[in-house]
């Protein structure tokens, strides 16, 4: 049984946030005909309150590199990179190099910020261009680094590729629980557990009134009440907030993050965040306008940053209305 069949049988979805079928991605990559192909392990985790990739690199570097090696062996004429966030490069670079030895794996120190986690921006940054997303299609799988087919998978995905190859994969994933939770940290637990169950089993279920943000750090959806019975998607982040949290301040925190991290290429994202900050900082918030901008940003932005960022704001506003 080849590795793609194994991944398919495991129903494995990528852990970078988009929940795309890894088997399908690998199949498509395999079918690209080209003399040279690139494999990139994306280790540029950049959202606030998300730190599971860092945890994996610190604790299981052999497993991750083994996952990359499996890919290198499987795809002929391929060359691999680990694209590392700057601080991770400084902290773990040497250790990783020792494990890699002579394999065709190189480390690449990230050159920019949060947006470099976005696949096409990551490639732009590796090509020393402006760190901005490109129009898709063509997708990196077809035309990526240096114009060659490029497979980009997240750190956790490569970790589990190794596990799948060894037949040790038990349908788990890594959750990172943070903020007002009592026992913050990274936990490996079944993929189908609900948020509620995860919080209970990790002794993080609060005694106070709370809501959580799941999936991403700043772009995750706000979840409370009955919805806590659903499982976690995206990057596996669970951020617990005390309901007494100042909600406007929370939105301001997000917008300040995005205003620094957006590239400025497309109108809804560049101008949208600027205006959202302006609205949130004003004495009387124009909720209707705020919602309009967020919806248009979600529907018309060029890359994943612009289309996913509004989720947090819109779901928080839903909750405010509900309460």
């Amino acid at each position: 049984m080849d590795i793609i069949t194994r991944i398919r049988k495991a129903n494995f979805l990528g852990r970078g946030g988009a929940n795309f079928s890894t088997a399908k991605k690998w199949e498509m990559f395999k079918n690209e005909k080209m003399d040279k192909k690139y494999i990139i392990c994306n280790a540029s985790e950049g959202e606030p309150d998300v730190f599971k990739d860092e945890y994996l690199i610190a604790n299981f570097p052999e497993e991750i590199i083994n996952g990359i090696k499996i890919a290198l062996d499987f795809f002929s004429n391929s060359q691999a990179y680990i694209y590392l966030r700057k601080d991770l490069y400084l902290k773990f670079g040497l250790k990783l190099k020792k494990i890699i030895k002579k394999e065709k794996i190189k480390l690449f120190k990230e050159t920019g910020g949060y947006l470099c986690g976005e696949e096409t921006t990551l490639i732009s940054s590796m090509e020393h261009q402006r760190r901005e997303p490109k129009i898709k299609p063509p997708y990196p799988l077809q035309k990526g680094l240096k114009g060659k087919p490029t497979l980009i998978n997240n750190v956790e995905t490569f970790y589990y590729i190794s596990k799948i190859a060894k037949q040790e994969y038990k349908k788990t994933r890594f959750y990172c629980i943070s903020k007002d939770a009592k026992k913050q940290g990274v936990f490996e637990l079944p993929i189908d557990w609900s948020v509620k169950k995860i919080l209970q089993k990790t002794k993080n279920y609060p005694e106070y009134d709370f809501f959580v943000q799941v999936g991403g750090g700043a772009c995750g959806k706000i979840v409370f009440g009955k919805e806590l019975n659903k499982s976690v998607c995206g990057t596996g982040a669970i951020i617990v907030y005390n309901v007494k949290q100042d909600l406007i301040k929370l939105m301001q925190k997000w917008v300040n993050f995005y205003i620094n991290e957006n590239c400025g290429k497309c109108v809804p994202c560049r101008e949208g965040f600027y205006r959202i900050r302006e609205i949130l900082n004003s004495k009387k918030i124009d909720w209707k306008l705020l919602k309009d901008i967020l919806e248009v940003m979600k529907e018309t932005s060029l890359c994943g940053l612009g289309t996913s960022a509004p989720t947090a704001f819109l779901s928080l506003m839903e909750m405010m209305k509900y309460r």
Binding site: I135, C263, P268, V296, E299, S301
Partner: protein, 577 residues
């Protein structure tokens, strides 16, 4: 043959070409989708997000400029979702653009204002956020007003394509800004391609219409003379919603008279002079082995500056002939002034040009006479269109008149100067006559016509094969120059125009200027040539008369007909306001 596929746009069934984008398909079907950053001359950037559409089965609203059509696709270009998104994105764009409509040359042809009306925009919904942004002046020709920029990047892209690379992006997010490069290695050549590709005139020509308006209002003993460039007669109509390429020579002349000009001359006459001077020089260079070959045309001032700054080693290759409007102005202020017994100091010559670099050219002291400029002022096609609208002169209704004589007559050769290849074709018609002294079988040199960026041909002159290269767009010029660095004898005669398609695609032309518009404008110029009785410059009797009058005074003739070039060691750079 491209495959034909079936799609629906706004419930209308359309047979469309596979590989086309939604925007292209809609355009071909006569459906207009609003857009700002899209321009067929640049790569699709999809950053303004105005051309978004709704596609059945898709959650988001993709941009039509970057999305290719697929079999069975059902597209809505004006659904309520689309309208809402487009409205917000346009209002956000307006918040970047400080409206300076009162003085804007595109005021009567403004895309933004049209959209504002169509979508009932609240253009002041958001506070202007770029109030304190700077204005950068490039020479006396072009300026970038950062407070009006909508960050579409067309200017940066086109400047890069021109091989100039004078504009770059600074910062990111909402702090992103287009700024000139200040590294000592790049300099603006004033071609104005940035301006003609800017959808909101944030980059534009430095305006001179104000001074002209003042002069026209208060003439104070002055004689005001307008001279019209070859190419603008086939483009100005577009500013009055006429079909692309419509020939408006007579109306253009009448409208200038209606504005108050005392005389209107045709630069096509000047072009005939230029042709004769250039053809004589070519013949001489070919006969005398000590002369430098290939000879380059030099009537495009942006190209001249490009050579002087980026490739000074090629300065000896440039023909010493002055350019058509400088030639004509020189003749106006000497020969004609004498003829009508007027002190040349009283004559104000205003050139109406498709070009921003002509503003710079006329300020170059090498092209002055007795420490005074020959051309006093240059207006772009856009500036003139604006003045006509402002003074309620309707180009479409005015009765055509002829240009003034004797400096108004011209040959067909002069007419085609505005199209890429036209200058060389004109010069060849005369050079062949000079070298062969026999009648040419055909005076049409079709190999060097058309919109391709680089055209190559060989023609037989006597027993010699003349190797020709014609290029338009400075990016292509660069390729020719690099080729010549490798093999200096690759060509004998080279025509370069800085702008795509030549002057018909000039930096001062109406906005937009697209490949289709350039084709139509050029076709009309060749129509004018075809219909002319006299089609060779050396058969223009009035031009010859003026030139032989000049040649009586050798020094004067040399001053009026020829010029010199200088290596530019340092960039002229920019000034910040």
């Amino acid at each position: 043959m491209p495959k034909i596929i079936n799609i629906k746009i706004n419930n209308k069934k359309i047979k469309a070409q596979e590989g086309d984008t939604i925007l292209e398909t809609a355009y071909k079907a006569g459906i207009e989708i609003p857009h700002l950053c899209f321009h067929p001359d640049t790569e699709v950037k999809a950053n303004c997000r105005v051309c978004v559409v709704e596609i059945k089965g898709r959650k988001d609203l993709p941009t039509s400029c970057s999305t290719k059509i697929e079999e069975g696709m059902e597209i809505k270009t004006e659904s309520s979702r689309v309208a809402k998104a487009r409205k917000i994105n346009l209002e956000l764009i307006f918040s970047e653009h400080i409206e300076k409509c009162g003085t804007c040359p595109m005021n009567f042809n403004c895309k933004l204002l049209n959209y504002a009306k169509k979508y009932n925009l609240k253009i002041t919904r958001f506070k202007d956020r770029k109030k304190n942004r700077k204005v950068y002046k490039f020479g006396n020709a072009v300026e970038l007003d950062s407070s009006q920029c909508i960050d579409c990047r067309n200017c940066v892209d086109i400047c890069e394509q021109q091989g100039v690379g004078f504009l770059k992006l600074k910062n990111k997010g909402h702090k992103i800004e287009v700024v000139p490069v200040d590294d000592g290695k790049h300099d603006c050549v004033y071609c104005g391609q940035c301006a003609v590709h800017c959808p909101v005139t944030a980059i534009q020509e430095q305006l001179n219409y104000n001074e002209i308006e003042k002069d026209l209002k208060n003439k104070k003993n002055k004689i005001l003379v307008a001279q019209i460039a070859p190419s603008i007669r086939t483009s100005i109509g577009e500013m009055f919603n006429l079909p692309y390429g419509k020939i408006m020579t007579g109306q253009l002349i009448s409208s200038l008279r209606a504005l108050g000009f005392d005389y209107v001359f045709d630069v096509n006459f000047g072009a005939d002079v230029t042709t004769i001077v250039e053809a004589e020089e070519l013949a001489e260079r070919l006969k005398n082995k000590n002369f430098v070959l290939p000879m380059f045309t030099s009537c495009c001032p942006a190209w001249v500056k490009f050579v002087e700054f980026y490739y000074p080693e090629f300065i000896p290759n440039l023909t010493t002939s002055r350019s058509p409007h400088i030639h004509l102005a020189g003749i106006i202020k000497t020969y004609w002034a004498k003829k009508i017994k007027v002190d040349p100091k009283k004559i104000v010559v205003v050139s109406i040009m498709p070009c921003t670099a002509k503003k710079y050219e006329s300020s170059r002291k090498e092209l002055w006479l007795n420490n005074r400029p020959l051309v006093d002022s240059v207006l772009t096609t856009r500036e003139l269109g604006y003045l006509l609208h402002k003074h309620k002169i309707d180009l479409t209704k005015i009765k055509p008149t002829k240009s003034d004589n004797p400096l108004g007559e011209h040959s067909g050769a002069g007419a085609i100067y505005g199209a890429s290849g036209g200058v060389m074709e004109s010069a060849l018609r005369t050079a062949m006559f000079l070298l062969n002294k026999e009648k040419l079988k055909s005076i049409n040199f079709k190999q060097i016509r058309g919109q391709q960026g680089i055209k190559k041909a060989e023609v037989k002159v006597g027993n010699r094969n003349l190797k020709l290269a014609v290029s338009n767009g400075l990016g292509n010029a660069k390729k020719i120059l690099e080729e010549l660095k490798q093999n200096p004898r690759e060509y004998d005669y080279v025509e370069i125009m800085a702008c795509p398609g030549g002057c018909i695609g000039g930096g001062g032309q109406p906005i937009p200027t697209t490949p289709l518009q350039r084709i139509k404008r050029a076709e009309s110029l060749y129509q004018i040539d075809k219909k002319k009785k006299i089609r060779e410059a050396h058969k223009n009797q009035e031009a010859k008369k003026a030139m032989s009058w000049l040649k009586k005074d050798k020094k004067l003739a040399s001053q009026i007909l020829h010029t010199k070039y200088h290596k530019k060691n340092k960039p002229e750079g920019f000034k910040i306001l």
